[in-house]
Symmetry: D2
Subunit: 391 residues, 4 copies
């Protein structure tokens, strides 16, 4: 079945790829060993550090978001050591599982799907680590399944309060170029991201940035590794930066995406995400007046600017509405994952998005709720318009 | 300045080009004399006749919409003869001017920018043509400047009532694959269209369909012509169909666009346009409750499904709002043309459009009106949602 | 049947479209009335004049090459006047026929398919025009059917020798950005070209440049016209430049193509064409040693840098070879047109071409000749290599 | 500097990406959890098994060629076990090094850069493994650095002769869809490939196929792993197949590339590679008559159909020629890697290639050799034409 018009992609990722980026990628391959490509690749890695807000080094991998999770685990943690993973939803859970599968000891703090990571729980867990076995704290900045955003400065403060030497490792997959993110100012030792969210690229690339302390740990780390090995990728030869053939088209796309971010201004990009997220929350708050919907993330300050998860409070399964939105109106929403299945739907609002795109999605959610008799107070989209208006 | 996100193109044309069509056109040239291309071109011409709903022949030209206007003037009207052009706005006016410039006598009926063509005026003009000098009645189906749609069956009835032998020539540029259009059933002798509206292509091609009677007139017509000559283009050689090098990429795009129309079903495409137009009108009716806005086209049955022109009734110049929509929100609206400048703005809703695209545009119009203090009753977009909902 | 690899397009047009140009055209439409597009369009028209090497004005049309022929006929020639068309092949013949169909008197000089236009014949014809009825001399710079290139300076000298006031109008469709072309220095009053040859664009646009004298004639000219009317297109509004909706994608492609030409340098582009053409001629000369092939254009100085027509001298029909090249090897060659059918094949070497592309085509011609037993002296491609080598 | 014309990419990879594939990838993202995408992904994996000629299962990874090497190492080899890597050049060497870095014991057979893997050496090494510590034999089918192709059936026979239970793992990165490859018939337990060679895609994906025996080993294997874990990827959910977000654009490209391979026929694709390689070798043999060049791979039956390495025998450094080819003519050749640097250049002839592309490259190599005075017998390209001709 051919649906007319454009797709509205409001799962929290992959996100809309700007035409400029798709165009930049529509190119035949070239000699990746030639200076032109090598200079371009180097400029991307260096500009990625600007986006991470770090003086540290950035690395690029042909992989996806989940693949990047292995990078700190094998470069920064000795076999036999432990990692602390404060749980807050599906993705921190999957990261913890990965650490375990790679043979590490995993200590977790208990999840609350209505909340972000609790810094106090992190502090407590670190304090309990008398033996100093925790090598790293692995924190997911934005849990897209629950839409909660953790306060990274508070987690940093918790680590500092204990004076624990663990490295601070952050999954910024759903937050880089979306939320304020200050790698160096917040003393984050290693940050990860992927191509298909705030960086507006097709999926297929992952990135890691490492600060000086992390680089030193990586140099000494005995964990067996090769493809993910940061040391190997620091070499002079362009061949090493990607450990083999670079994904040329993705790199061209990345260059274009970075150019777009800097043309708009990174701060302006982040401010735009905040503005569109605020409008989404205005719509949800309006709809929720009926008493049948609510924010999945309880505390306003923990609601992310990447995605908003909405819970039905009357037992309605929002899948009927979500299916309607996708199959009839070409609007893709996120569903509830894991325990939240059948109780939550999610509206992604990150990446290359503007007001009419968001308003079109919100109005269509309202339309699909109406079509499928999902109870709500009509007029959320008007609340969003009001939130966006400068007047 | 790089605006984030996608453009929302709601001038009444050019319209959104589906990704499939742009992809189909992203191809190097080929041997246009080879059978593969010639078969493809022939299939397009034949399928165009299906869209025109005619047993007649279709012709394709490298030109734009205005260029197609010359086709009937030089193929169907003897030098020295007259044409009757019932005026209803800017485009019928320009067509009349073209006829004059090409040396024809032009008889017009007086325009009313709040109305479509008045069939009675056509009937009167034809009755007055005792000498039988009128060779053709040139009617614009949808006047995009005023957004009025003429009742083509009623004009046909007017011609028939007089029994006048003039050919019936229709500009379907803004109506083909948008409105119900029945070339044979309505005894239209010649219909014109262009690539960039309902056919969802880039501008650069024009099309004409001629019924049997028109073909016979064209065969005998002594008007000097070559590029526009229908007879030459009827030849067996593919070279003749386009009078020289065919626009290969446009033809590939046309094939894809026609495939999309038939996949969705031509009737479904037309029904979708009606549905989206109805939603737009619901929004405008809601906004207009404030008494400061109104439909430019007075009669509901004359409001087109391609575009809606909205008049300010309190003297406000809508250009401020329109500029805001474009420069801040990337939403392109039509302005007032000619006499309507400074009094009218227009929302196009034709082509490859779906509900979230339209709702996003309507919500952003509401946002831009709010930003610029253009008075209206808030909530038009909710009225549109209601109009679209199946419940 | 899917042939592997890329097509080698060596008909003399349409030509290879650079990836950069195709990418630049892969864009959704925008608001063509906005300043951004209008500035871009203006820059293209002004840069086109640089390519024509004229201080005059350039105009752009949605049409094809044949369509541009009408421009001087209706803007520069009064109805009832005559044009002189020195014949040299199929295209000058078709232009003459067009002039006739548009109601003009046509005076021709006799064609010799092995030769370019004879300036003496032009001089004689002008001298014979005692009544001064000839309003324009229409000369095709490069006749792609025969591959002969006329000496435009010599034709100019012939007009000057007579002191005849006729305008000098040149079809530079196959020569602009291919051969040296000096509109002002050679006192050409009007020059025409199309998008799909040296300008490396898809077919679908035509261009005309008019010098001051031609502009003055156009201002007074009473020939009925509208779409082709130069006066109308000189207006201030962008809308007028294209007489309606501009072909946005083509204009974006044109901007990119002009950028590429200026990046390489127009002189360098022309020098490259000369170099590649010389290599082609070296190959043909080598093949011809067998005595069964020869240049269609007798005089070396009349052999164009756009295309080389090769005649079989032993009665072999080269179509078998040409079919083999296309169907088995994906190399498209030109065939013999009109009287030359069954006796000539043509190798186009214009547009976005480099050494490996040309050598690949020449080697494959040699391969296809071998496959189909078309007699020739083996090794033409090595002669081409030698001609290209700087050593 | 903008070079005119197309790039001729004759390093042995990445290779030419067909326009159809680039077009298929020029798409916005979609809902990868929807059935449409999942069905498509499944069809690709199943069709990949057809290309590998196996009844086994295929797996797809966002990674590059080097990344795929980790797959068998962590899924099929217990920590502490050994792998046998018969060395034949740079890539087998790098694979051995990776195995070592991942903590495995590595046994090698000595390399001879003029030869493929010696099956006798494999047999000897296996016979010497009295303790049965070798878990897998890792064989690179085609060593692109030396251009030698190993006889996989002979290696299989060597394993069988010893009756050693080691798994047979083959790197088919440069050979799949290039050379005859019969995974099941040759009892290969695991085969690897990447996207950017015979599969004609951009780099960024890697693939592994596992036969039944390898699957059983993987099920029991205790090697710590997650991203590369085959077991996890066998799950029912599409999410698992790619261990996270799938690279949608690459998958669309893969679907198109597989369609192209099957349209042409896999056997025909392989036969074409053999034909074009044979023509390349004919050119090289001709050039070598001067006594200053020779094949790097000594034995004719070991010369691969993917790439031909050419050695200078008089001490000339071919880099000057290679630089000339790239910088002046836009022809990219491979250089000598490692020990072969300064003594070898390589002509890749794999992927989406046809006769004119290859002949253009060969003629340009001849041209660049001439330009840079690299001694050879002139006329290699004519020898290639003869080799390709059916007559």
């Amino acid at each position: 079945m051919t649906l007319p018009g454009r797709i509205f992609l409001h799962s929290p990722g992959p996100t809309n790829i700007p035409d400029r980026v798709l165009r930049a990628m529509h190119r035949p391959c070239e000699d990746f060993a030639a200076p032109a490509f090598q200079d371009l690749a180097r400029s991307c890695l260096s500009d990625l550090s600007r986006v991470f807000r770090t003086e540290g080094e950035s690395f690029a991998f042909s992989t996806n978001g989940h693949g990047t999770w292995e990078i700190p685990l094998v470069n920064l943690v000795e076999p036999g050591s432990a990692v602390l993973v404060p749980l807050a939803g599906r993705f921190s859970g999957a990261w913890a599982e990965m650490a375990e599968k790679l043979g590490l000891e995993v200590i977790t703090t208990p999840p609350d799907l209505g909340r972000a990571v609790d810094p106090q729980a992190v502090e407590d867990a670190l304090r309990a680590d008398k033996a100093g076995r925790i090598a790293a704290v692995l924190t997911v900045h934005t849990e897209t399944a629950s839409s909660a955003r953790t306060d990274l400065e508070a987690v940093r403060a918790a680590i500092d309060a204990v004076g624990h030497p663990a490295l601070y490792v952050v999954d910024a997959i759903a937050s880089l170029a979306v939320e304020r993110f200050e790698m160096d100012a917040w003393k984050i030792d290693c940050a990860l991201t992927a191509s298909q969210k705030g960086l507006m690229l097709p999926p297929g690339m992952g990135f890691a940035a490492l600060g000086e302390r992390a680089m030193q740990v990586a140099e000494r780390c005995s964990h067996p590794r090769r493809y993910w090995d940061i040391q190997f990728r620091r070499g002079d030869a362009g061949y090493q930066w990607f450990h083999g053939t670079p994904p040329l088209q993705h790199v061209w796309g990345l260059r274009e995406a970075l150019d777009m971010i800097f043309e708009q201004g990174l701060d302006a990009v982040i401010a735009r995400h905040a503005r569109l997220a605020e409008a989404t929350r205005a719509a949800v708050a309006h709809w929720s007046q009926a008493g049948t919907l609510d924010f999945q993330t309880v505390r306003p300050e923990e609601r992310s600017n990447a995605v908003t998860a909405i819970r039905t409070t009357d037992g309605t399964d929002p899948e009927t509405m979500r299916k309607r939105a996708r199959e009839r109106y070409n609007v893709v929403l996120g569903g509830g994952l894991g325990e939240l299945q059948g109780r939550v739907f999610r509206i992604g609002h990150l990446g290359d998005l503007n007001e009419p795109m968001l308003l079109g999605a919100l109005a269509t959610v309202e339309l699909a709720m109406r079509d499928t008799a999902l109870a709500c107070t009509e007029g959320g989209v008007v609340a969003a318009v009001r939130a966006l208006s400068t007047r």
